[in-house]
C-alpha cells in the first residue's frame, strides 16, 4: 500500500508539465476549446462482493481530454487496475465434506487469485462553476464526473486444493487441486463521481476525483470455499490526475 502511494505521488510529480504556468501568458480563452492529454493515478477500493475477494490497489490511467465549453469536458479514458493478491489463500473449507464429525478446516496456502481490469470509457465532466480560463492565475472548481464504456476483466484463480476429494485414509491430498480457471469477459460499465479541478494555467490542470465504477459482469461462486457469486462488480476509485492541453 505504502509503495503504491509513493508510486502515485512520484508519477504525478513527474507528469506535471514544468513550464505550464509560463505558457499561459497572453492566452485569454483558457482551456476551453482545447484538447489535451491526462495522466491519472488512483487507488481502487473493491466494494460489496468484490471486497470479499480483493483489497485496495493502486491503478493508473491515461486519457484524452477535450474542453468543449466552460461547463463541459469530454474524456476518452483508459485505466488499468490489477487487484493482486486476492484473499482466496485465506479461504477455508471443510473436509471431508460428507463427514461432519471428521471436519477439518483447511486452507489452500498456495492458492492465488488476481484480477485485472482494463477500462476503456468515454467520460463527461460537468463543471459546477464556469471555467473562465487560467491566465488570471490559479482557478478551479468542482465537477461531476460521469461516463461509461467497456471494462475488460480477467479474474484468475489457481492453486485451490480440491475440497470435494474423498477421504482415503491418508489425510487430504494437497496436490489435488482444482484446475486453474479464470472469469474473463468484457463488461459494459459506468462510472459516476465528483471531483475538483485546479487550472494552473490555460494549458495545465490538476484534478482530484472520486468515482464509483460499476461493471455489469460476474465472478463465479465457490460455495465450498466460502466465496459467493459476485454480480455486478463494483469498485470505488480515488485519484489525482494531471492534464496538459496541447492544442
Amino acid at each position: 500500500m505504502k509503495r503504491g502511494i509513493i508510486s502515485v505521488v512520484c508519477l504525478m510529480f513527474f507528469a506535471l508539465p514544468g513550464n505550464s504556468y509560463g505558457d499561459a501568458h497572453g492566452q485569454d480563452t483558457g482551456v476551453v476549446g482545447k484538447v489535451g492529454l491526462g495522466l491519472s493515478g488512483n487507488f481502487n477500493f473493491p466494494v460489496f462482493g468484490m471486497s470479499d475477494r480483493f483489497r485496495a490497489q493502486e491503478a493508473f490511467g491515461l486519457y484524452f481530454t477535450y474542453a468543449r465549453d466552460a461547463r463541459n469536458t469530454l474524456e476518452v479514458e483508459f485505466h488499468r487496475t490489477r487487484f493482486d493478491p486476492g484473499k482466496i489463500q485465506e479461504a477455508t473449507f471443510y473436509w471431508p465434506e460428507d463427514k461432519p464429525e471428521e471436519w477439518q478446516k483447511i486452507t489452500s496456502p498456495l492458492a492465488r487469485n488476481y484480477m485485472t481490469v482494463n477500462a476503456f470509457t468515454i467520460n463527461g465532466l460537468y463543471h459546477l462553476k464556469e471555467r473562465t480560463g487560467g491566465s488570471d492565475g490559479v482557478t478551479g472548481g468542482p465537477f461531476i464526473a460521469y461516463g461509461g464504456g467497456f471494462y475488460h476483466y480477467k479474474n484468475s484463480v489457481s492453486g485451490l486444493i480440491f475440497a470435494g476429494q474423498p477421504n482415503l485414509g491418508g489425510g487430504i491430498d494437497t496436490t489435488l487441486e482444482l484446475a486453474p480457471f479464470d472469469d474473463t469477459d468484457v463488461a459494459w460499465g459506468l462510472n459516476f463521481g465528483l471531483g475538483i479541478e485546479v487550472l494552473a494555467s490555460d494549458r495545465a490542470a490538476v484534478d482530484a476525483r472520486a468515482r464509483w465504477n460499476l461493471l455489469i459482469g460476474e465472478l463465479r461462486q465457490m460455495e465450498s470455499y466460502g466465496v459467493a457469486r459476485t454480480f455486478p462488480l463494483h469498485y470505488f476509485e480515488i485519484g489525482l490526475s494531471v492534464k496538459y492541453y496541447v492544442m
Binding site: 470435494g164 482444482l178 484446475a179 480457471f181 460455495e223
Partner: protein, 1115 residues
C-alpha cells in the same frame, strides 16, 4: 376492379359467417384544440393530416378528434378563413394512445404563408395506464442490428430475451415451442401473445406453443409491448401482449434492399470436432483420425445395411472421405421490400427475406436449409369513410430432424456426406391471411370487421422407412452409413377468426369500445420417434378419436395392412409396399382433426378528464370443446387409465366391452366447457408536468395447451419392438405397427382441465427527470393459478407383477412473482439515444411437486372376480390384435390371493389409504372406494411430492436486463478529412442482453454463503451463471443520386461471452455451485483417475462471435 375486390372481400366476410372478435388496436388517435392567440376557441377550424383525406372540424369549444390514425410520424394542418394556416410537423402517433396536438392561429387580413411549428410528444405518456413500451419504425430503421420483432420485444423491461414470456425470469422455463416433450411435467401455455395487424399469431393448439411471428423487419411500422395489464379487448393470454403493426404503402414508390455476408469461422466452444483429442482412443493412446494412414483413408464401406461384408448391399464407397470443414462455411442473408401506389386509391407494401446461415456444429447440412418469409399488405381506400386492407404473413423453413433420438453424435458422424441425416428433413409452413374493413359511421364512431385465417403445418419428408442399428467403420468408431431412426411428424393447425369491433368517442373524454370474437380451431398431430432400440418407441397423437372411431375402417370399409419385409435380419413393415391406407389409424387421422371453438366478448371505456385517464373493461370468454371426448381404445384397456379417466370426468362408467370389437361402446364424456370473466382496470394521473403514476389490475385466462386436453402419448414397454407381427401373417395392422398394447408408460390429456389464470397488479411511475432523459419504475405482483401439473399413477399389477405408470394432468400448478422493472432512456437527440432496462424477479413456485400427487392403485381379489381386469388377451389371428380374455376362476383365485397380499401390505405398513370394501373393517376411518366413482374394489395410496420453492434468499433473485445504445449522424455532419466527411451518415448500434442462468437444485454439505454459513440439510436452488451478449452494428451511408447505399459491419456476441447450457430445473449439479466448475467439467478426482479432458463443447452451447459485412440501400 378495386371496387369489385372490395365488394368481394366484404361478401366473403358475410358469407363465411363465422364469428370472432378480439380486436387488437392498430391505430392511434389525435385530439386537441384550435384556438386563437388569445386562447379563445375557433369553432369550424379545419384540421387535417397532411397528404391524406383524414381530418376533423373543431367543435364549438374548439376541440377536435381524429380517430384511426396510423402509427408513425405525421404532419398536420389547421386552417380557418381569416387566420394564418399552421402546420405542425413531427406529430408522433402511437397505437392505443392519444396524441394531443393543439393549434394557435393568428388572425390575418391578408393571405400569409403558413406557420410551421414542430410538435413535441409529452415527456411522459399521459394515458399510459399499464406498463407499455413501444418501438417505432424510426427506431427500427436506426438500429438494424436488432433483426426481428421478437428480438425487439426481448429488449423491453419484463420480457425474456427470447421474446417468449413476460415477468417470469427464468424460473418457469418449460414454455415455448419445441420444449414440450415426454418429460415435460407442466405443459404450460404460452404466456405472451403476439398480434400482427390485430390478428393473433401465437396459439396453444398443438403439443407446444406455436410462436410464429414471422414479420420481416422491413415491414414493421410499430411494435408495442404490454407487460402488465392489456386492455379487455385481449384474451387468451397470460398478461402480456405484443402488437405489431405492419407498414403500408404510400403515394410514392419506395424500396429497400439488404445483403449480409457471414464470415466463416468456428461457432462453438471447445475442441474442433475434427480435433484428435475428441477421437483419442484411451485404450491405445492413438487418435482414431489417421489422415496419415493410406489404408485408413482408403477404407471402403464393405459392410452395408446387412452388417455382412461382401454382400450385395455393400456400396464400396470411401468411408473416410475428407470431411467438410464446418468452420469454413460462409453465410448469406437477403431482405428487401417495395411499396407504393396502385392507382389512386390503393397502395401496397411487401417484403421478403431468406438466409443461409452456417451451422454451429457439424450437421447434415453445413448451412441452414432453405427458409423464406414474406409479409405483405394491400390498402384500399374504397370510400373516404371505408378502408379495406388485405394482408398476410408467410414463412417456411426446413430443418433436419436432429432430435434426441436421432442426433448425430459429436464427432463420430463426421464422415457422413453432408445432406444425410437418419431422421430426414422437416418442413414447416406458417401463414396468416386477413381482410380488414374499417367503416367510419361518423367522425367519432366506427366499426371494424376483420376476418383471418392462419395455418401451421409441420411435415417430415425423406424419412427412412425403418430403423437399423448404426453401421460403423472397421474401428467401430465413425459412422459408415447413415443411422436410420424413426422420426415422423405430421401436424397441422388451422384457425379461422372473425372479429368485430365497435368504437365511439362518446364524449370528448370518453372513448367506448366493444367487440366480439369467435375462433374456430382445427388441429391434428401425429408424431413417432424411435432410436431403433426396443422400448424406445414413442407415439404422440392428437385428433378427434371419437369421430375417427366411428370410421375406423376408412372409406373402403376394409382394415388396411402394411406388408412385412426383412431387413438386416429383422422383420419390419414396408410402408412403400402398402396400398390404400385410409384407416384413421394410418394416414386418415388427418380427416379427423380436433375442432374447438373459442368465443369472447368485451366492453371497455377509456375516460380522460383533468389529466387523469381511466381504462376500465371487462371480458367474457367461453370455450367449447366442439364435441365429446372419447379416450382412444389403446388407452382404455389400461385399468388405471380407466379409473383416472372416471375420476377426472366425475363420472361412473359402467361396463366396457373388449377392444377392439366394439370400440364405440367405450363411453364418451363431455369436456368441461369454460366461461371466464376477466375484469381489467387501469388509471394514470400526472404527478407533475414531467411525471405520472399509474396503477393497473387485471385478470387473465389462457387456454391449456391443446395437447394437454386432447393429446395422448404412449411408450412401448421395455423390450418391446417397434412393430410386431403378432399373428405371424407377414403383414401389419395399425395395431401391430404401433407396437401393440404393451405400453411402458402413458400420458393423456384431459378435457376437464380448466384454463390457467393470472392476476396482475402493478404500480408504476414515469419521470422525465432532465432534458430528454426519462426513467420508468414499475413494481408488480403476479400470481398464476391452475396451470396444468402432471400427476403420476402407478398400478401395482398383480398379474405381471410389474408397476405400470401413467401420467395425467390436473390444474395444480401455481406460482407467484414479485418484481421490479426499471428503465432509463434518452430520446434520440444530439446524435445519440440509449435505453437501459433491468428487472428483478422474486419468485416462488410449486414447480416440482407442491400439489402434485402420486397415486398408487392396488386392486383386490373382488376386482379380479368381477371381470374388470383387462390384462389377459388372446391374439386375433385375422387382425393380429389382442382380444380381451376373462380370467379363469383358478387365475382369479391365484392372482386374487396375491392382489390381496399387496393391499394387506399397505395396511400393515400403516399407510394412508383409500381402502377397498373388502378391507374396510381393518381401517375403519378410511375412505372406502374411489371418491368420484362407484368403484369399491381398488385401494389407493395418495401422496404428494414436496415442492421446492425458491430461490432461497433475495440475493439469488433472478434479474435480466438490456442496454441499447445508438449514435447516428446526419448526412454532411462532421469535419472534412481528406475530402470526405468521415463522420457523416454514420450509425453505431450497441446492444447488451443480460440473461439469468437457469435454475437447478443442489445440496451443500458444508456451511457456505448460500446457507448463511450454517450446516443445513435442505436442497437449495441455484442459477447458472448470468449470460451477457453484446451485439455491435456500424454502418456508413453514402449518397448516389436518389440512392442512399450504406455499407455495414455487424458482430453478434462481440466479446465471445459464454452462455451455459440451460439446465432443467429438477436436475442436480452440485459441482457448479460448490467448486465453480462448469456443467460437464470433470472434477480433479475424475481427471486424476481417468485422465479425462474437459471439452467445453457440451458446457456452453451459444454461438461464438460472428462477423458480418453487408450493404443496404433504400430508395
Amino acid at each position: 376492379m378495386i371496387r369489385k375486390l372490395a365488394f368481394l372481400s366484404v361478401l366473403l366476410v358475410c358469407v363465411l359467417g363465422v364469428q370472432d372478435w378480439a380486436q387488437a388496436a392498430t391505430t392511434g388517435k389525435i385530439a386537441g384544440r384550435v384556438m386563437d392567440i388569445k386562447g379563445d376557441p375557433l369553432p369550424g377550424a379545419n384540421v387535417v393530416i397532411t397528404g391524406t383525406n383524414r381530418g376533423a372540424t373543431a367543435d364549438a369549444e374548439g376541440y377536435y378528434i381524429i380517430l384511426l390514425v396510423l402509427p408513425g410520424t405525421h404532419s398536420m394542418e389547421a386552417s380557418l378563413v381569416g387566420y394564418q394556416k399552421v402546420v405542425q410537423q413531427d406529430v408522433k402517433v402511437v397505437v392505443g394512445y392519444t396524441s394531443t396536438v393543439d393549434f394557435s392561429l393568428t388572425e390575418t387580413a391578408l393571405e400569409a404563408a403558413e406557420l410551421i411549428v414542430t410538435a413535441e410528444r409529452p415527456p411522459v405518456e399521459p394515458d399510459k395506464t399499464a406498463s407499455k413500451y413501444y418501438v417505432t419504425a424510426d427506431e427500427i430503421d436506426l438500429q438494424p442490428v436488432v433483426k426481428d420483432a421478437r428480438a425487439w420485444a426481448g429488449l423491453q423491461p419484463g420480457v425474456q430475451k427470447d421474446g417468449r414470456s413476460v415477468r417470469q425470469g427464468n424460473f418457469q422455463m418449460d414454455e415455448g415451442e419445441r420444449r414440450a416433450g415426454w418429460y415435460t411435467t407442466t405443459p404450460k401455455p404460452i404466456s405472451l401473445t403476439y398480434t400482427v395487424d390485430g390478428v393473433r399469431m401465437v396459439n396453444n393448439d398443438r403439443r407446444a406453443a406455436n410462436m410464429f411471428t414471422g414479420v420481416n423487419r422491413a415491414s414493421i411500422q410499430e411494435i408495442s409491448v404490454v407487460t402488465g395489464v392489456p386492455e379487455a379487448e385481449y384474451g387468451n393470454m397470460d398478461a402480456g401482449i405484443i402488437n405489431i403493426v405492419t407498414r403500408e404503402g404510400s403515394r410514392d414508390y419506395h424500396g429497400f434492399f439488404e445483403y449480409r455476408y457471414t464470415v466463416p469461422g468456428k461457432r462453438h466452444y471447445g475442441f474442433n470436432a475434427y480435433d484428435p483429442i475428441i477421437h483419442l482412443n484411451q485404450g491405445t493412446g492413438r487418435s482414431r483420425i489417421r489422415l496419415d494412414d493410406p489404408a485408413w483413408l482408403q477404407e471402403k464401406e464393405d459392410i452395408g445395411a446387412d452388417g455382412l461384408p461382401g454382400t450385395a448391399d455393400d456400396s464400396g464407397r470411401l468411408v473416410h472421405i475428407q470431411p467438410d470443414d464446418y468452420t469454413d462455411i460462409s453465410g448469406h442473408r437477403v431482405e428487401g421490400s417495395i411499396s407504393g401506389p396502385i392507382g389512386d386509391k390503393t397502395s401496397f407494401h411487401v417484403s421478403a427475406q431468406t438466409d443461409r446461415q452456417p451451422v454451429q456444429r457439424p450437421d447434415p447440412a453445413l448451412r441452414s436449409l432453405p427458409n423464406y418469409q414474406v409479409t405483405g399488405k394491400l390498402t384500399f381506400g374504397v370510400r373516404p369513410n371505408i378502408n379495406l386492407k388485405l394482408g398476410g404473413v408467410y414463412g417456411t423453413n426446413q430443418n433436419f430432424r436432429n432430435t434426441r433420438e436421432s442426433a448425430l453424435s459429436a464427432g463420430r458422424d463426421l464422415y457422413l456426406p453432408a445432406g444425410i441425416d437418419g431422421a430426414g428433413k422437416e418442413i414447416e409452413w406458417n401463414s396468416m391471411l386477413y381482410a380488414y374493413l374499417t367503416h367510419s359511421l361518423s367522425s367519432r364512431t366506427l366499426y371494424e370487421l376483420r376476418i383471418s385465417r392462419s395455418d401451421s403445418e409441420q411435415d417430415t419428408s425423406g424419412m427412412p422407412i425403418e430403423t437399423f442399428n448404426v453401421v460403423r467403420d472397421h474401428d467401430k468408431w465413425f459412422t459408415a452409413t447413415p443411422r436410420e431412426v424413426r422420426d415422423y411428424r405430421l401436424n397441422r393447425q388451422t384457425r379461422h377468426n372473425l372479429k368485430f369491433d365497435f368504437s365511439s368517442q362518446v364524449t370528448k373524454g370518453n372513448f367506448f369500445k366493444a367487440g366480439a370474437e369467435a375462433t374456430w380451431f382445427r388441429t391434428y398431430q401425429w408424431e413417432s420417434q424411435s432410436r431403433g432400440t426396443s422400448g424406445s418407441y414413442r407415439v404422440w397423437t392428437m385428433y378427434d378419436y371419437y369421430e375417427s372411431a366411428q370410421n375406423r375402417l376408412g372409406a373402403d370399409g376394409q382394415m388396411d395392412y402394411v406388408p412385412a419385409t426383412t431387413v438386416n435380419g429383422v422383420k419390419l413393415p414396408d410402408l412403400r409396399g402398402a396400398g390404400n391406407l385410409d384407416d384413421p389409424a394410418w394416414n386418415a387421422f388427418r380427416d379427423y382433426p380436433r375442432g374447438a371453438f373459442q368465443l369472447g366478448a368485451y366492453a371497455q371505456d377509456k375516460m380522460e378528464f383533468e389529466g387523469m385517464v381511466v381504462n376500465v373493461g371487462v371480458r367474457l370468454d367461453a370455450y367449447d370443446h366442439g364435441g365429446q371426448t372419447r379416450p382412444e381404445p389403446v388407452w382404455s384397456v389400461l385399468p388405471q387409465n380407466r379409473w383416472f379417466a372416471d375420476a377426472d370426468a366425475s363420472l361412473a362408467r359402467q361396463g366396457q366391452t373388449p377392444y377392439p370389437n366394439n370400440p364405440q361402446s367405450f363411453p364418451t364424456y363431455d369436456g368441461l366447457n369454460m366461461f371466464k370473466l376477466s375484469p381489467r382496470f387501469g388509471v394514470s394521473h400526472p404527478i407533475t408536468a414531467r411525471s405520472a403514476i399509474h396503477f393497473s389490475y387485471g385478470r387473465f385466462f389462457v387456454l391449456p395447451i391443446f395437447y394437454a386436453m386432447y393429446g395422448q402419448t404412449w411408450q412401448a414397454a421395455s423390450g418391446r419392438s417397434i412393430a410386431e407381427d403378432l399373428n405371424a401373417d407377414n403383414r401389419y395392422s395399425s395395431y401391430e405397427y404401433y407396437g401393440g398394447l404393451e405400453m411402458g408408460s402413458t400420458k393423456r390429456g384431459s378435457t376437464n382441465s380448466r384454463p390457467g389464470s393470472t392476476v396482475n397488479y402493478e404500480v408504476g411511475v414515469d419521470w422525465n427527470f432532465v432534458s430528454d432523459y426519462t426513467a420508468n419504475a414499475t413494481m408488480f405482483y403476479r400470481r398464476t393459478e391452475d396451470y396444468l401439473q402432471q400427476n403420476n399413477t402407478f398400478l401395482h399389477d398383480p398379474v405381471e407383477k410389474q408397476i405400470k405408470r401413467a401420467h395425467w394432468y390436473q390444474n395444480a400448478y401455481s406460482g407467484e412473482t414479485r418484481g421490479l422493472e426499471l428503465a432509463v432512456s434518452k430520446r434520440f437527440t444530439n446524435f445519440f439515444s440509449f435505453r437501459a432496462t433491468w428487472s428483478w424477479y422474486w419468485e416462488q413456485n410449486n414447480f416440482y411437486g407442491g400439489r402434485e400427487w402420486v397415486g398408487r392403485w392396488f386392486v383386490d381379489s373382488d376386482f379380479l372376480a368381477k371381470d374388470a381386469y383387462r390384462f389377459k388377451f388372446a391374439i386375433d389371428q385375422t387382425t393380429g390384435e389382442r382380444v380381451w380374455q376373462p380370467l379363469s376362476s383358478a387365475e382369479v383365485n391365484a392372482i386374487g390371493m396375491f392382489a390381496d397380499q399387496l393391499v394387506q401390505q399397505e395396511i400393515d405398513a400403516n399407510r394412508e389409504l383409500w381402502i377397498t370394501e373388502k378391507f374396510a373393517n381393518q381401517v375403519p376411518d378410511a375412505q372406502v372406494g374411489f371418491p368420484w366413482t362407484d368403484e369399491r374394489n381398488i385401494a389407493a395410496r395418495i401422496h404428494t411430492i414436496g415442492g421446492v420453492r425458491g430461490p432461497a434468499n433475495m440475493r439469488d433473485a433472478t434479474g435480466d436486463g438490456s442496454i441499447t445504445f445508438l449514435f447516428a449522424t446526419p448526412e454532411g455532419y462532421g469535419p472534412e478529412v481528406g475530402g470526405s466527411k468521415v463522420l457523416s451518415d454514420l450509425n453505431v448500434n450497441l446492444v447488451l442482453r443480460i440473461e439469468p442462468g437457469t435454475f437447478f437444485r443442489y445440496s451443500q454439505p458444508t456451511p457456505s454463503p448460500s446457507t448463511a454459513n450454517k450446516l443445513i440439510r435442505n436442497q437449495l436452488l441455484f442459477t447458472n451463471p448470468t449470460a451477457f451478449r453484446t451485439d455491435l452494428g456500424i454502418q456508413k451511408g453514402f449518397r448516389i443520386g436518389k440512392l442512399r447505399p450504406t455499407v455495414f459491419f455487424e458482430a453478434t456476441n462481440l466479446f465471445n461471452a459464454k452462455k451455459p447450457r440451460p439446465i432443467r430445473r429438477w436436475n442436480f449439479f452440485h459441482d457448479i455451485p460448490k467448486y465453480g466448475l462448469a456443467e460437464n467439467q470433470p472434477t480433479p478426482v475424475v481427471v486424476r483417475d481417468n485422465n479425462q479432458i474437459w471439452d467445453q463443447w457440451n458446457s456452453y452451447t451459444n454461438r461464438t462471435r460472428e462477423i458480418y459485412f453487408g450493404v443496404r440501400t433504400s430508395m
